[in-house]
């Protein structure tokens, strides 16, 4: 992919993000932060590429360390979001 196509995806995604996030109800702003945290750990893709490649040992270990950090975030972020969301309940019907 050339730089311009990537840039286009990026700009479009910013607009999507803008509208999607404004529609998030303020009561869920904390879960929003927790889940954005979890998904930004998609950076694990880069970490996996680095740790999978042969050739440079330092690069591989940096990658593996990044995999550890990102997976703390992925599992921790999604799990804590799920835990919070499970608490939001409606008034029980009498």
């Amino acid at each position: 992919m050339d730089f311009i196509s990537i840039l286009s995806i990026f700009v479009m995604a910013c607009f999507v993000g803008y509208y999607v996030v404004w529609s998030v109800t303020p009561a869920l702003h904390t879960p929003l932060m927790a889940v954005t945290n979890a998904i930004s750990s998609v950076i694990v893709v880069g970490a996996l590429v680095a740790s999978a490649a042969a050739g440079n040992a330092t690069s591989k270990w940096l990658g593996l360390l990044a995999v550890v950090l990102a997976s703390v975030n992925i599992f921790g972020g999604f799990a804590v979001t799920a835990r919070m969301l499970a608490m939001y309940k409606k008034k029980e019907k009498k």
Binding site: I6, T36, V44, S51, L69, M84, K90
Partner: protein
Amino acid sequence: MEHIAPNPWVALAYLASGILFILALRGLSSPSSSRKGNRFGMLGMLIAVVTTLITHEIASLPEILGALAIGGGIGWIIARRIAMTDMPQLVAAFHSLVGLAAVLVGWAAYLNPEAFGIAGTDGLINPVSRVELGLGIAIGAITFSGSIIAFLKLAGTMSGKPILLPMRHVINLGTLLGIIGLIGWFTQDQSLWVIATVTALAFLIGFLLIVPIGGADMPVVVSMLNSYSGWAAAAMGFTLHNTAMIITGALVGSSGAILSYIMCKAMNRGFLSVIAGGFGAVASNGDAAKTDRPWKRGSAEDAAFLLGEAEQVIIIPGYGMAVAQAQHVLREMGDQLKAKGVRVKYAIHPVAGRMPGHMNVLLAEANVPYDEVFELEDINGEFAQTDVAFIIGANDVVNPAAKTDKSSPIYGMPVFDVEKAKTIMFIKRSMGGVGYAGVDNDVFYMDQTMMLLADAKKMVEDIVKALQH
């Protein structure tokens, strides 16, 4: 130069995970759809990880699986054990991990550019990729060190008071320009010292930027760092030509930016003035908190009597409720009042607590139904028909000076019109302390105000006991 992903299915898989992430955020538009959204997010992450693993030649699968298991295990345990009152610290800590991971990935790509497909035929890194790498590492490093400071302040390890260095604006601006200049230079010269200096300076400025910002401005800081962690992921996505990372980075980046904007607006302060820091540092040393005006002190029994007789009670929680861990006993009080036929509502200011939505989570934890919880603009018109406004651990968000006193540091901030309620009950530890802004609050001295001076949890427990008689 050769790219690793000529297979269109791979690109489609990453696109799919990007779309699933959009749906994850979309789900948060209401609590009922949110759990499904979260599952979409997990699925998106699974697709991204599996796609990466099956499309690359892997020289070290056991190590990778080990790393995933170690990190995943730690994350899982933390997520299960963390107390809801500690959410702001946790989120800050998680941000720092994303930042550090971005730095590490950037360095790995610098050391092994062939693996990332960013090397030219001469073995050097493409100039465009160098800018992306430099930016990714710099933003990641700022996110890391900034989040560490935010974490220490939120956890109380470091004083929440703003720490002001002399000449800090000059130092910050100089460091920032230095980083930008060096990233420019990096396109000409890809020596190790350039990228090492960029990394070091970025760590430094993350630290310098957050240190002068005080505790109650943390909602803005945490949102801002949230945004940065997204931009760091996006920059790495540019380097890797990976749509999942770019889409996610853009989503998270805009999400954090919007939250920062909402928080600033709720305090009527400019983003730059929050970032410049130092708010409340001067005023709180002054003698603003003179309490020589007459005020009335109430007991738990008095409060219980008035609350029990009321038709409608609005409860306004603030950070003090979180500190005292009073949310559970508060809900108990609400239940008892409801059993007596009192209408109970909760009113939440956007900046109550230490992160966006902090109070909502705590009330949800205490099993307060979310349809009893209202935002500022939805409930502010109701105070005139309210018998008791019950303020627990909040202060600046009910200060009428924000509406009337042009010289007040909080002038213009939207606040609750509690003074319209028939009775105001104000739980506070003592008359001495003032809110974060360091200004006196006229509500303390109003005729209809009853000051309940005690620890918030203790006081509400006593009210609950008194209500039982």
